[in-house]
């Protein structure tokens, strides 16, 4: 069996535009005054067909429209992409088709259109449930707009998740616990809860480097918030199934699980990445990030950079890095197959003694404490 089948097969479509750039965000997103959607439809289609030809005989488990702000896409654009994908690959009966949406009033008006196009899951970037913090995060919507948009989404879709960013400037543990309870009372069956990350090359990154980003929680406070988040969500029946993702069992994002279970995925659009098994060899794919340059490259016949074959070590590392994020843990048998050797017993016992990992059958799982310092755990597992 090809290794990717352990994880499934998905399609990621990147929409690189936003109405405004958020100061913390390092995603490939651009603010432009005019977008000719027909050009994008054409380019997405061309790319899809080109890559589809390399990957016959696959069953598509999921599609994800990510961004940027895909809720700026015209429903017809979304429909065209879904239709093209359906022409190329048979869809799994339970295919998940997600779209990331910003919670403004304009996008809410398009939700019905997305549903008609075939989208069956919305992931909404609400980010905070108080207006002051939304402002500090540079968001252009208010809490009440977000709640309204969320209600519209609920009316159109069975599956609606939303994102919050915590460990924000000036946020206390108490304030976050409170906000989280609010969020849980709104939530349906899925939540993404991210600790604020200061990314290089963003406005926050610059401010941080200049010492101007004040009142960020200390690492210890942030760790307390993380552990409290795990607890509270557990008690509400939305346990963490991944470092930052919570779901009622069965309601996990299937698309994202393809990544963490190290399956194959096609990445289409500016800056999109993919992992594809071709002739039994796993490759990584990457596209030019600038929207104009990407369109041009598609026109010239190839919307991605040349595929790179992943070495055995690359695969071992990626599999571990992704797998350890999941509550279900790392499949150690698969690790053994990929790497040709099992994990060092002394390393494992050391990490076990420290309470960072536990063995559950043939899986290795990070404990709640271990997940809070997962990078250290991974470094330990990956250095000999």
């Amino acid at each position: 069996m090809d290794d990717w089948r352990n994880g499934g097969f998905g399609l990621y479509v990147h929409w690189p535009f936003c109405q405004a750039k958020c100061p913390y965000c390092d995603f490939n997103s651009h603010v432009v005054s005019r977008i000719d959607q027909s050009v994008w439809v054409k380019a997405y289609r061309t790319e899809l067909r080109r890559i589809g030809d390399m990957l016959p005989d696959r069953l598509l488990n999921s599609i994800f429209f990510g961004g940027g702000t895909p809720s700026l896409m015209h429903p017809d654009t979304v429909a065209a992409v879904i239709e093209t994908a359906r022409d190329i690959w048979p869809f799994a009966n339970d295919i998940e088709i997600s779209l990331e949406a910003n919670p403004g009033s304009v996008e809410a008006g398009r939700f019905a259109g997305y549903r008609d196009a075939g989208v069956n899951r919305i992931s909404m970037g609400i980010q905070a449930l108080n207006d002051e913090d939304l402002r500090r995060l540079g968001r252009i919507h208010s809490v009440s707009e977000a709640r309204t948009a969320f209600d519209v989404a609920r009316a159109c879709f069975d599956r609606v998740s939303f994102d919050l960013i915590y460990a924000r400037q000036g946020q206390t543990l108490e304030a976050w616990n409170h906000e989280l309870s609010d969020a849980l009372s709104m939530a349906i069956d899925h939540l993404s809860l991210y600790q604020l990350t200061i990314e290089d090359g963003t406005a926050f990154g610059d401010r941080y480097a200049r010492g101007k980003l004040r009142d960020l929680p200390t690492d210890d406070n942030a760790a307390d918030m993380y552990l409290a988040t795990q607890d509270i969500c557990d008690r509400h029946g939305l346990p963490g199934y991944e470092i930052s993702n919570h779901a009622r069992p069965g309601a996990e994002s299937r698309h994202n699980q393809i990544y963490w279970r190290y399956g194959d995925y096609v990445g289409i659009g500016p800056g999109a990445h993919g992992r594809l098994t071709l002739n039994g060899k796993r490759h990584s794919t990457e596209a030019l990030r600038a929207p104009g340059a990407w369109l041009e490259s598609v026109e010239k016949g190839q919307g991605t950079l040349p595929f790179l074959a992943l070495s055995q070590e690359d695969q071992v590392v990626e599999h571990m890095m992704m797998g350890m994020r999941l509550h279900e843990g790392l499949d150690m048998d698969r690790h053994m197959l990929l790497s040709g050797q099992s994990l060092s017993d002394s390393k494992l016992s050391m990490l076990q003694d420290l309470g960072m990992v536990e063995r559950v059958g043939s899986r290795l799982r990070a404990t709640a404490n271990g997940r809070a310092v997962l990078n250290s755990v991974l470094r330990e597992l990956l250095t000999d």
Binding site: T197, D219, A223, G274, S376, V377, L382
Partner: protein
Amino acid sequence: MTELSKIRNFSIVAHIDHGKSTLADRLIQSTGTVQDRDMKEQLLDAMDIERERGITIKANTVRIDYEADDGEHYVLNLIDTPGHVDFAYEVSRSMRAVEGSLLVVDSTQGVEAQTLANVYQAIDADHEIVPVLNKIDLPASECDRVAEQIEDVIGIDASDAIRVSAKTGIGIKETLEAIVTRLPAPTGERDAPLRAMLVDSWYDAYLGVIVLVRIMDGVLKKNDQIKMMQTGARYGVDRIGVFRPAMQVVDELGPGEIGFITASIKQVRDTKVGDTITHERKGAETALPGFKPSVPVVFCGLFPVDSSEFEDLRDAIEKLALNDASFSYEMETSAALGFGFRCGFLGLLHLEVIRDRIEREYNIDLITTAPSVVYHLFMKDGEMLELHNPADMPDLSKVDHLEEPRIKATILVPDDYLGDVLKLCQDRRGIQMDLSYAGSRAMVVYDLPLNEVVFDFYDRLKSVTKGYASFDYQMIGYREDNLVKMSVLVNDEPVDALSTMVHRDRAEQRGRAMCEKLKDLIPRHMFKIPIQAAIGGKVIARETLSALRKDVTAKCYGGDATRKRKLLDKQKAGKKKMRQFGRVEIPQEAFISALKMDD
């Protein structure tokens, strides 16, 4: 060959940064020795490290032709010298090759500690001294005051000091004239047996060992068979030349001239600075008085971060030693750091320079252990041992007593900061020897233990005086004191590379400071880590580094995999730069930084 009366040889000496190299630039440029288009600032500072730090490390010689106002053509040999105290040895031997010195004093700063040190050396070498007041283009320039200071503090006549801007070129002509009219011509006998002073030698990738010589008597020609009078080594001369400042081959060098020879000498170590070169046949009977050899005073361990690079390190150190006879090395093994070298240096800047060069030119990441001085251990059985490394401290029951090196430190400082300087010296176990004033500047002389100075004394001095103090020192001998070895335990494991010698009365304070420092320097681990300082078996200070609690990437999806992987790889590489002690990783810089005192 140049007639003796038409030769002038001189060194340019000054406190660091007073403008020696810039003055040399102007002298070279205004005499047309180097074309304008080939000029650059501090032309003679050719080493990367000199250009980067803006300082001179190696003395440099240049031959200049000058047509003076008297209509005669003169040959001037100038030696630009380093100002930093670590390289004082370069200055002293350069002075032995010339008859006069331009004493450059920054007219915005006045007399500083190395100004004094250099003047005394020049006087020792019987030099005619021409004072030059530099940087007169700056508004803060105070020539009259500085001239007065030179007379008061140094006691030489400064009434005819030349006022110069080495930057703009004011006063350069006057300087050249003063060199010709005020400095003496060299003496020597053309017909006497050859006596050439071996002033310096270094390794050149193309030509091999290059020897800088000053001819005292006789004539040196290509193909001559020569003999080194001290070492007895014999060579055939391949090449003779002068520096302008590029090498230019000449037919011969006569009395009073300075130039270079090459002679298929394999290693710099085969030459001995201060040696006398003569002809193999009909050679001179008596050698010139030699130089005192330079002695390393600061020792530290250099270990490769990646222990598989030990052989590369050996290679790098051997190559650097080829070019720098003032640094010594021997193999060292450390339980904590594996194989490396214990190296001796002239001072801390010298140490830094060598370390930087190994890291950059040879691409080897290094762990540098705490610098230490050489202690004299007097054993109960009457034997005296030199201790270069605190980790080697023998069983105390066998030691009768211990002596440490002391220095005489001279510090010049504006009155306002005097209190801070005195406090610093007292804190470092200093004994005041003298305190006098020159205008609003105080000159303090202290007897200090070298071990309190090698490390961060100069940094501290700069910081407490906002950079206004200047400092110079010389060794004055050994004295007994109550010194003990303090060891450091991290997670209950002793880390030998962190052992230091401290005065018993200060051990607790130093131990506490060190544990606190280490607590900041060692990254948090997944578990908590005790850090202790101990004397013998007795713990004198303790800190606990709490466990790491947050280290996770919040978002990681398909698109991030590659980037997050790179991040992890980078962290893994960072991990490699650390040293493993039991379960604890200590970053390489900790071995030095842990000892810095911010008091």
